[in-house]
């Protein structure tokens, strides 16, 4: 973990509403493990003081890439970054994905930037399985060529049907499971909206499989100091049967059985 002033190497629209930011980060890029993230100091607006967390999409040698979408003031300002600009990042952060179970079929489930967040894991996993990508519309389905190039079968689902099946990613997953998937001993690696993670976790728990969920929580420090990003997990020894983990440090990847979901997630 370090703070590094990186240099923007490239910055271009990527697909849909996403942009790809490529950074020269010789201190951090070589250390990144699949599922980890970096905490970026925004160049602007100056009144937005916190860093912003982003999963590492690719890390090759001294370079790393992130894929991001402008959703608020900070990410909107990031769009003005240009090659040559300096950018302070803190990382790599978080636990990352574990190695796959030897006897299971890896199944990836992703929504939104989750496709980027799973790429390094998809590249690292010893077996190629199946990847379910979901989004509202065609533009939300990212990285399909990259995953296919790695040998993954990608199944896309969109809510408006503009790409792949119409429906939710879990509809496609359910269809696959009942169409024989459950006999393949799936092990899930998922990243996306909380609702999706919870649904994937539910399927895994019901089937007795393992699901690794990369969770998204608002963050302050990113290193475990501020206790902003906490998530309830099951803890039989704790009063009430739960305790907090810090998603920035003990996460972002949690096994589904440990997670205590709250009412509206």
């Amino acid at each position: 973990m370090k703070v590094e002033t990186t240099t923007v190497l490239a910055h271009a629209t990527y697909g849909g509403d996403y942009r790809c930011l490529e950074l020269e980060a010789p201190g951090i890029a070589p250390e990144v493990r699949p599922g980890q993230f970096v905490h970026i100091r925004l160049p602007a607006p100056a009144d937005a003081i916190l860093r912003r967390p982003f999963s590492v999409f690719r890390a090759d040698g001294d370079r790393l890439q992130i894929l991001y979408k402008a959703v608020g003031r900070g990410t909107a300002a990031m769009r003005h970054l240009q090659p040559g600009d300096g950018l302070s990042i803190l990382g790599p952060l978080g636990n990352g994905f574990p190695a796959a179970a030897a006897d299971a079929l890896p199944v990836l489930v992703a929504g939104g930037y989750g496709m980027a967040a799973l790429y390094l894991q998809a590249r690292t996993l010893p077996r190629r399985g199946i990847a379910f990508f979901g989004g509202a519309k065609a533009g939300d389905i990212l990285c399909v060529p990259e995953f296919e190039a790695l040998g993954w079968e990608v199944r896309a689902t969109t809510q408006d049907g503009s790409r792949g099946e119409r429906g939710l990613v879990t509809d496609a997953l359910d269809a696959w499971l009942s169409g024989g998937g459950r006999d393949l001993r799936p092990e899930f690696f998922a990243c996306g909206p909380n609702g999706m993670l919870r649904a994937v976790g539910g399927r895994a728990e019901a089937g007795g499989w393992t699901a690794w969920l990369s969770m998204d929580r608002h963050m302050g420090c990113g290193v475990g100091a501020c206790l902003t990003c906490v998530q309830k997990i099951r803890d039989p020894d704790a009063p009430g049967g739960w305790s907090w983990v810090r998603i920035c440090r003990e996460g972002p990847v949690m096994e589904c059985r440990t997670v205590v979901w709250e009412g509206d997630e």
Partner: protein, 306 residues
Amino acid sequence: MTATPDLAVRIGSLTLRNPVMVASGTFGYGPEYADLVDLASLGAIVVKGIRAEPTTGNPTPRTVETASGLINAIGLPGPGVDGFVRDYLPFLRRHDVPVIVNIWGRTVEEYGDVARRLGAVDGVHALEINVSCPNIKEGSKAFGTNLESFRRVVDLVRASTRLPVIPKLAPNVADIASFARAAEECGSDAVSLINSIPAMAVDIETRRPKLGNITGGLSGPAIHPVAVKLVWEAARAVKIPVIAMGGIRDAADAIEFIIVGATAVAVGTANFVEPGTAPAVVEGIRSHLVRHGLPSVAALRGTVVA
């Protein structure tokens, strides 16, 4: 001109090699930033608030960003005295840095109990008394804004330990000087200020507060001018050292506090932005002293022309 100005400052019986601490709740218990910051470069580390028992803290969301600020309502989760001594103190003892433990309780008696127990272990160098956290629903809140309960807490902590004690003052009072003086009269070795300022934010679409605890405390650059005013007033009111915090981003902000009378400063929210802030502030103070031909940080203290 002095090439190597003297940065050391004293807080009661404790000598710090430089006046720059990290503020409670913004630096964990030590290990969190150890990869990024050489702990031995800090004047002191003030760990997150500790009470007698383990505590879970507030529901999420716990922080929200505002204009040049951050509202937090963490709610003082922590491992309790025993957990702290067991899980964190061994790590801290291995580092060459004074450890100041921020303590709190739900009753006056608990403050005394925590002070007594922490005073008895090796590796704790001073106690900061948190009577001013805006995020706890029990008695603690009133301790910081009511002069009588404030005195009761400080008196009891003072009686319970021989460690230097440092009451941390609440900013939301009409007369900060009276609290600083009360702290001094009760035998405190220093006062620290400011804690975050009570604040709130609401999502106008859902009409829900943006914090699980509804309200929280505002910190960061937004509050710096308020902190400077309060530190100036407190420093004029007492002879004991004042430890200043509130919105420090860089050495200039820290020097401003020293000029209005602070003996030491603490970096808080800025740790989240730039973990290297505290060591950079130390260097910035050093070069400011050199540039102005001052022999020591003490020579800068309270030099405001006002």
